[in-house]
Amino acid sequence: MRPILMKGHERPLTFLKYNRDGDLLFSCAKDHTPTVWFADNGERLGTYRGHNGAVWTCDVSRDSMRLITGSADQTVKLWNVETGAQLFTFNFDSPARSVDFSVGDKLAVITTDPFMELTSAIHVKRIARDPSQQTAESALVIKGPQGRINRAIWGPLNRTIISAGEDAIVRIWDSETGKLLKESDKETGHKKTVTSLSKAVDGSHFVTGSLDKSAKLWDSRTLTLIKTYLTERPVNAVTMSPLLDHVVLGGGQDASHVTTTDHRAGKFEAKFYDKILQEEIGGVKGHFGPINALAFNPDGKSFSSGGEDGYVRLHHFDPDYFNVKI
């Protein structure tokens, strides 16, 4: 499995997203330009210029027409995927940390960071079919959790919003009323900042990665803790294979310590775990900084990782991978 090295960003990667067909890969980085690549050969298709700060996340609509990006420049932008044209800009008073389209792409959930006097918040925006009809109004604003909310996604049937962040608690909110429905248990839950959250293709479960050196698998409906994956380093990124029962964790030592230790100490590998048995299967080395982003191609035959080192590495699995038995 020889990875394709995609060098296009000048700063650390922050997020990776495949479109539904699995032919396009969107990457966000701390440089200000989200980039789209051919998911097959890693060829760069184009960039989306307009942000004025680090871009933290993106999401792409089901029909691969629209791209939504959230940035530290306190805006969330809608783009035309094909032309790269900006369609709309939502302005906030603090950096936007995460964005996620709902089922049907009519709603988007956006989280904003605590900034100056402002606390963090979860915003729900209606996304108009026609960009000219788009308004900036929020359908719902949820406030409450302490510290940054690193990720918020839609629950089953858009009825709930699942969020997690610095306070290490995973929460489920009612997406209509904004009421808190469920909270993860302090005892069994994460002990440190939850850095990433990624849901299964069918939305039945999701996995969270945390700086407490573990990743956990939860039931999207009941918020029951199903599995825990223990690792040796802080987890910055998690993803699940849509094809096999595999979970991939990426992370590594804090970037500020990287220069003081050997590259082997940092553990910048993407680690594969058996989803059910919670056992480590293998690892993919290559990055020379912590892994910040991971994404699986929807066909389950390739995955990509983005690191603090500014590279995206695109891995197409060898046939052996599909025969791994433990």
């Binding site: 089953p156 039945s204 199903i226 040796e232 066909d299």
Partner: protein, 718 residues
């Protein structure tokens, strides 16, 4: 403090509340942190600082035998007394009271002095008791509280109660483990944990765990009977058949370091105290306890200077252990190095042998033979080389010099005893002629042979730096790492060579090894050449009998290596000197990684030592010879265990898979029910995964450019 409630009362209260006491597991009751409901824990050492409480007069002393003076001289006497006592500490305002007889108007010959702290009072008592003001007036100083205490002594002697004998627990129960496993203790974060090394199951099995068990470190006694913990109030030892119960406490406020005698009969504790006057040096207190009774057998007090003379004494602090134990496992003698003297004490009376120390000018270092009462001393060069340096062996208690060797132009010496006391190797660093650099040689003493012959060993390349030296335990071989740091060489020597038993000879040299430390197996024969710290934890498992490498491995960043007492397993650990990778690995003796445990903030890993084997050397040899016969049983056991393990593993996996399957099926049902809803959300578009995924390969050919060019082709060959 809550009054003590008897068990009867508890039962009575419980029955009125309708609780059956017999069903309550008292051990499971946990108080919230920081709350004790007025119940003092018996875990704390109460005997701390007896001066602090009692009647609160702990900082008052009574000075007796003062001159009796008339009124006119009162002021003068008071001035004198005040002068003497304010040198030692700060006397409280109005803290000096000299009573006057109302009839004669003369003083009564005693006075009371109150200090700010009991420590100062204690010090004043210690320093001035027996102070000669003049011939007729020798001070008798006492603590005020002592009067009270001694007054209370009953006039009639009552025989002490004899307690009926209760047999104690078998403290060596762990040695009777059926699977012949070894224990170890680890300290990580606030937890201290004792575990079995269950190498067959490739995991440790917990024995006992306790949070905040110790305040600084833990230590096994040399034969493994006790686990010692260190607290602010003193040290304690723990042990027992099933759990770790506290067996004894040794009160010693602010104890810093502890050391057991090799036969674990005695425990030496050490503390140093800030002086009240910052110009003074630290005060040092050492106590020698009897481990089993907890009695102080002897205490030593003094300034830091007195205890930090000699070779390894650094600028700050003493070189530990201060007392070196000798005379083998009987714990007969212990010795301390002082300025120009060596003090050897014997444990029968806890006093100096022959009531006097051994005078040795400028002695730098001493070390005991591990088996016999023989001391090895090192005295450096004196008078700019006029008087040579020397190493001598002294027999105790006769103090007779057995052997002496003079050495010239020596910069430093280090002594290494072989574990049976058969050999002594002295590493001698000598100056070259120019005195600009040093080179190293060895002086090898054969202690057990007649007249103790000495042999000089020099490395082939005399300029090689010696990085490490180690004797084979119970053996006749030793290993040396020498050469330059990035890739030094490792050489093995034997004290017996085939035909000629009286000569040291080299076995082999391994070139260019990434090693800086040597770890022999306690059973000999195998050695680990380790590259710790700078070498990132390179390990080479080497068989010295066959002179071949068994395995090379790496435990990245490893800081410590320890063999288990049987020589079957090795633990390598990364302690919290590094931030990452904290934890330990367990290896088999031949370098196979068995298991790996990661623990954040990992401080200590210690194997529980075993007492020496009762098997005679002949029997051991016989077993080694007929190993096949003996090992059969264990091999069968091994097989059973591995079968069981794979069986259990399979079952567990199956269970997990089934559980998951059930959950997924539940979900699928839900998902199916919601299908219509989802479709509605997507404006009627056929819902996600229900639609088949199809990959089509589309070949696109693009004609970029077509151009025609006529090439002239020359057929002329002429």
């Amino acid at each position: 403090m809550a009054e003590v409630i008897s068990m009867e009362d508890i039962r009575a209260t419980a029955s009125t509340l309708g609780i059956d006491v017999s069903n309550i597991d008292f051990d499971s009751i946990r108080l919230p942190p920081g709350e004790d409901f007025g119940i003092t824990s018996d875990d704390d050492l109460h005997e701390e600082d007896p001066l602090e409480y009692d009647s609160g007069f702990g900082n008052i002393i009574v000075v007796d035998n003062l001159p009796v003076v008339p009124r006119e001289k009162f002021e003068k006497l008071e001035g004198v007394v005040r002068k003497i006592y304010s040198q030692i500490g700060v006397i409280k305002e109005d803290g000096l009271w000299m009573p006057v007889d109302s009839d004669t108007q003369k003083t009564l010959g005693y006075c009371f002095i109150e200090y700010n702290t009991p420590q100062e009072a204690e010090l004043a008592r210690e320093k001035t008791n027996g102070y000669k003001l003049d011939r007729a007036h020798i001070f008798a100083v006492n603590m005020f509280d002592d009067f009270d205490r001694f007054m209370k002594v009953p006039d009639e002697w009552a025989p002490p109660e004899t307690k009926p004998y209760t047999p104690g627990e078998n403290l060596q129960h762990w040695l009777t483990d059926e699977k012949a496993r070894d224990q170890f203790v680890i300290r990580a974060g606030s937890d201290t944990e004792v575990l079995w090394n269950d190498a067959r199951h490739l995991k440790p099995e917990p024995v006992y765990k306790r949070a905040y068990w110790t305040e600084s470190f833990v230590q096994w006694s040399p034969l493994g009977t006790y686990l010692a913990t260190v607290h602010r109030q003193g040290a304690a030892v723990w042990g027992g058949a099933t759990a770790f119960n506290r067996l004894m406490r040794y009160a010693h406020p602010q104890v810093k370091l502890i050391d057991f005698s090799p036969g674990e009969k005695y425990l030496v504790t050490y503390s140093s105290h800030e002086p009240s006057n910052p110009r003074d040096t630290h005060r040092v207190v050492l106590n020698v306890f009897d481990v089993r009774t907890g009695k102080v057998m002897r205490d030593f007090k003094g300034s830091m200077d007195e205890f930090s003379v000699g070779g390894a004494g650094g600028v700050s602090g003493v070189s530990w252990p201060v007392f070196r134990w000798g005379g083998g496992k009987e714990d007969k003698y212990f010795a301390r190095i002082g300025k120009n003297v060596i003090s050897v004490y014997e444990t029968e009376t806890f006093s100096l042998i022959d009531k006097k120390s051994l005078k040795v000018e400028n002695v730098m270092d001493l070390s005991w033979s591990p088996a016999d009462p023989i001391l090895a001393l090192f005295v450096p060069e004196l008078g700019g080389g006029n008087q040579p340096a020397r190493v001598s062996l002294v027999q105790i208690p006769s103090k007779e010099e057995l052997r002496q060797k003079n050495l010239f132009s020596v910069s430093d010496c280090k002594m290494y005893w072989q574990s049976n006391g058969d050999y002594l190797a002295v590493k001698v660093d000598r100056y070259t002629k120019t005195k600009k650099s040093t080179y190293t040689g060895f002086e090898l003493f054969r202690i057990k042979e007649r007249d103790i012959p000495i042999e000089v060993l020099e490395l082939e390349n005399k300029n090689d730096k010696i990085i490490a030296f180690a004797w084979e335990p119970k053996g006749h071989r030793f290993a040396v790492i020498h050469g330059d740091s990035p890739r030094p060489d490792v050489s093995f020597y034997t004290m017996r060579s085939g035909s000629n038993t009286g000569r040291v000879s080299k076995l082999t040299t391994l070139k260019g090894k990434q090693a800086n430390a040597l770890f022999w197996s306690p059973a000999g024969r195998y050695i680990i050449l380790a590259g710790l710290k700078g070498f990132n934890g390179q390990l080479e498992f080497y068989n010295v009998d066959e002179l071949e490498t068994m395995a090379t491995a790496e435990h990245f960043m490893a800081t410590d290596i320890e063999w288990d007492p049987t020589g079957r397993y090795v633990a390598t650990s990364v302690t919290s000197v590094h931030e990452m990778e904290n934890g330990f690995n367990i290896w088999s003796f031949n370098g196979k990684l068995l298991y790996r445990i990661l623990k954040d903030h990992f401080f200590q890993f210690l194997w529980r030592p075993r007492p020496p084997s009762f098997l005679s050397p002949e029997k051991e040899e016989e077993i080694a010879k007929n190993l096949k016969k003996y090992s059969k049983k264990y091999e069968a056991e091994d097989q059973d265990v591995s079968m069981l393990l794979s069986e259990q593993d399979r079952e567990k996996r199956k269970m997990l898979k089934d559980e998951w399957e059930r959950w997924v099926n539940d979900w699928k049902r839900w998902h199916e029910e919601e299908k219509a809803e989802r479709q509605r959300l997507r404006d009627g578009e056929a819902s996600d995964e229900e639609e088949e995924y199809e990959a089509k390969e589309v070949e696109v050919e693009e004609l970029l450019d077509v151009s025609e060019e006529v090439l002239s082709f020359d057929l002329d060959q002429e």
